[in-house]
Amino acid sequence: MKLELRGITKRFGSFTANDSIDLVVEPGEIHSLLGENGAGKSTLMNVLYGLLQPDEGQVVIDGERVHFDGPGDAVAAGIGMVHQHFMLVPVFTVAENVMLGYEYTKGGQFLDHAAARQQVRRLSERFGFDVDPDALVEDIPVGVQQRVEIIKALARDAKVLILDEPTAVLTPQETDELIAIMRELKQSGTSIVFITHKLREVRAVADRITVIRRGKVVGTADPGTSEAELASMMVGRTVQLTVDKQPFAPKGEVLQVEDLSVRDDLGRTVVDGVSLDVRGGEIVAIAGVQGNGQTELVEAIVGLGEDISGSIRLQGKQILGLNAKEIIDLGVGYVPEDRSHDGLIESFTVAENLVLSQHDRAPFGSGLLYHPAKVKARANELVGEFDVRTQGVEATAGSLSGGNQQKVVVAREMSRPLKLFVASQPTRGVDVGSIEFLHNRIVAERDHGSAVLLVSTELDEVLALADRIAVMYRGRVVGVVDGDTPRDVLGLMMAGVPEQDARRQAAEQGPTALTVQDEEARQ
């Protein structure tokens, strides 16, 4: 099936989200749609999937113009979509989720579970999905849930599969497996529209690349194009992808975590005997797949955890048992991993968000009095210093793009003298331009002498910033390695393999799809 979008224009009020976009997806092609957050990728796909009606332009399938009133029409025409946030019912089985909305019935009214199960098994075997049709969705890993979404689309005879930021939630290994699946699908004639902002993956898998910026197609590229070129197409200017870092000169111990264990509210041990230390002037990154205890470890350090045992010392002072406010006051800055949930208040103004933890401290507050004018003045300074792109400090934080929201959080935390800076996923959902800025600020904080604890599930980020790397797996630190440890060794450690074994296995297995690029880069 050949899919064409011709001159698609979609406006929201005065804002043009898509400006006469042309896109051609050939049969059996993996077509990557590359663009920053807010560039209009999702709008375009929503038009294609029938969720939005274009103001101008048309969708053409195999030379015939089609019109979609809703996703139902799009599915019927052979278009399948895997959303970034999965549309699965957690308490249903895989097979039940696959049949949801397109129930197989027998005798007109009875659900035909056997047929659904059979369908799942057939697709799973054909493409090497390894999915158990009877497993409950809530029990299976995120990577497998994603495959269930793909099976859903395939079960409805999708000829074109749209994958919206599919790798955002995956481990490097899972990403490799997804890439394998995409190639398998391509072999069987399914076209794939692969939406992402990760340059490395695009180059690994795409046959063709269309780059959009501010609602317009700014160019097409082939996978041979260098990352730097793709990045500058996306952003519209030259971007430095690597971070300039001075050799690190660690000073005294700032954070000492000893034998720390954390139990969740169900009593399960989620952090298990972790010991870790971070010195002033060094960046220690915690690498690991999401959900291996990093969140709980960090929350324990910043005073937000419960049911903790062990010891956490800040410059020798025990801080375990202090509350968040007291720890903030000791000079700990914290960028939480979910910025819209924990980092800022979207309905508050930028100015208010910039003093969220300092609003009752001089000069912003004294006793019961709160001084908006002083808050505003300070906000204006910080917005300038941290290059926050906003219509003004009185604009709500929710009106900012992800990257600018993150700059607000980082600006707030860095705007006071810090001993320890803890950043969880500081660049998740942040555009390339902002990533560059944020990385530079984090390195600057380290050069300034602060201890920096970075948590990231993005190996790129870990490798770019870390002086040392602690890999976490199932609540434990698998090992602490140097900042220049090879990607595939880290990947294996993230799956729980101890350092020595990981190095040996990596040497035996040879490079994977993604590490090849590292080699290229080095040459």
Binding site: A17, L51, D342, I345, H359
Partner: protein, 411 residues
């Protein structure tokens, strides 16, 4: 921030048409417009109901096709008379013989408005702190109990007596709401449930107290307390011809106070922060539990003030029906005022006027007073469904596209 608009939808990356701050600013004016149009619409629907209920209209409708003008005239005059009476009863009785009689209605509206305003502030303040205070009714009852007891049981000099009665009402009301706040902060018990239950407890506590010798008026078997001493009464501001008492000024001052608290105090900052996003507030070192308790306690003391107004402003004695449903009207007042202190003051005035006018409307035109409740309810109903109002008046929605998408997207 407003309490009635949807939470800002969580954005997926690339979500189109993100509302900019400019559209938000326009949104504020839009809120006012929607509110005004909702009131207009409610009055229009009310007019239809008045006409339909009118016997003369029903009679003329039976021969509508023979002489349609009859029915239209009947309908027109019934609606005009009813709304004229509503206006005369609420604002200015232009047919009255004396000046005081002419302006008495507006003072009466303000009398009704005073407790509604403070109770509305109690609900609105809690809204801003992320709490649905359904318990204003119970807090009013506790406030009334406090004011009444101080008023009739203690003998104190002028001014001191009144101030102490007000303080007692605020303390008891604050305590009552504080129970719900404490339970929420400590155990996570949902305040909607606890405040509703506390309403029942307050009601029966009042019924019980009124059967005890401490509260029951000597010589009476029915549940009524002694009258409070005149030293405890809020002074009448215009003399004996009007019931308008000092409570009005207290209520307006409370409006300013709540505005100041929310926008110019560190406590208010915390309350708003916790209300808008408790997780981010906790991360920023704000004590969410304490803020919850403080918000409820302050809200309760405002509602307690409403109870005091009932006793030492107008009623003088405590009876089973002293709260008069003000605590529930307060919820609609807070919604109509959209959680904004000044909006709540204005909404309280509107509801006070409708209440005062409703009595006159019933007395002079026989229009059932229930119609006033219908109109009040319709106003809130329309406000709760802005797209409906927009559709009726064909106003273009701001950022409608993004709303649609976010629903399809994150639903």
């Amino acid at each position: 921030m407003s309490v009635t608009t949807d939470r800002i939808p969580e954005k997926t990356p690339d979500a189109p048409g993100e509302p900019t701050s400019a559209t938000r600013r326009r949104g504020w004016a839009g809120d006012v417009l929607i509110t005004v149009l909702s009131i207009v619409l409610a009055l229009v629907v009310g007019a239809v109901l008045i006409a339909v209920a009118d016997p003369r209209v029903q009679e003329t409708a039976s021969y509508f096709f023979a002489r349609p003008l009859d029915m239209l005239q009947a309908a027109g005059s019934s609606v005009a008379n009813a709304y004229a009476a509503l206006f005369k009863g609420a604002i200015f009785d232009y047919g009255a013989e004396t000046t005081t009689a002419a302006i008495r209605p507006i003072t009466e509206s303000l009398v009704f408005a005073s407790p509604l305003v403070v109770a509305g502030l109690a609900v609105g303040l809690a809204f801003r702190a992320g709490l649905f205070n359904i318990g204003a009714e119970g807090q009013i009852i506790l406030g009334a109990i406090g004011a009444a007891y101080v008023g009739f049981a203690w003998e104190l000099p002028l001014v001191v007596h009144m101030v102490l009665a007000l303080v007692a009402a605020m303390l008891l009301g604050g305590l009552w709401a504080g129970i719900a706040g404490f339970l929420k902060a400590r155990t996570g018990a949902h305040e909607v449930i606890t405040t509703i239950m506390l309403n029942y407890i307050a009601r029966f506590l009042l019924a019980f107290l009124l059967s005890t010798t401490a509260f029951q008026r000597p010589g009476r078997n029915d549940p009524i307390s002694p009258q409070v001493d005149s030293t405890a009464m809020l002074p009448q501001m215009l003399g004996s011809w009007s019931r308008l008492h000092l409570g009005l000024l207290v209520a307006i001052a409370a409006g300013f106070g709540v505005w100041w608290l929310l926008n110019r105090s560190t406590l208010g900052f915390k309350l708003r922060a916790v209300g808008a996003n408790p997780f981010a507030s906790r991360t920023a070192g704000i004590d969410v539990g304490w803020s919850t308790f403080a918000a409820m306690a302050i809200a309760g003391s405002l509602a307690g003030l409403a109870g005091a107004f009932q006793i030492i402003g107008t009623e003088r004695s405590l009876t089973g029906g002293v709260s008069a449903g003000i605590g529930f009207d307060a919820i609609t007042v807070a919604l109509l005022g959209r959680g904004n202190p000044f909006g709540i003051v204005l909404a309280g005035f509107l509801f006070g006027a409708l209440k005062a006018g409703g009595v006159t409307m019933q007395a002079r035109t026989g229009t059932p007073i229930d119609l006033v409740f219908v109109v009040q309810s319709l106003i809130v109903l329309f406000i709760a469904a802005p797209p409906l109002v927009r559709a009726i008046f064909r106003i273009r929605a701001q950022g409608a596209g993004s709303m649609q998408v976010s629903k399809g997207w994150n639903a």
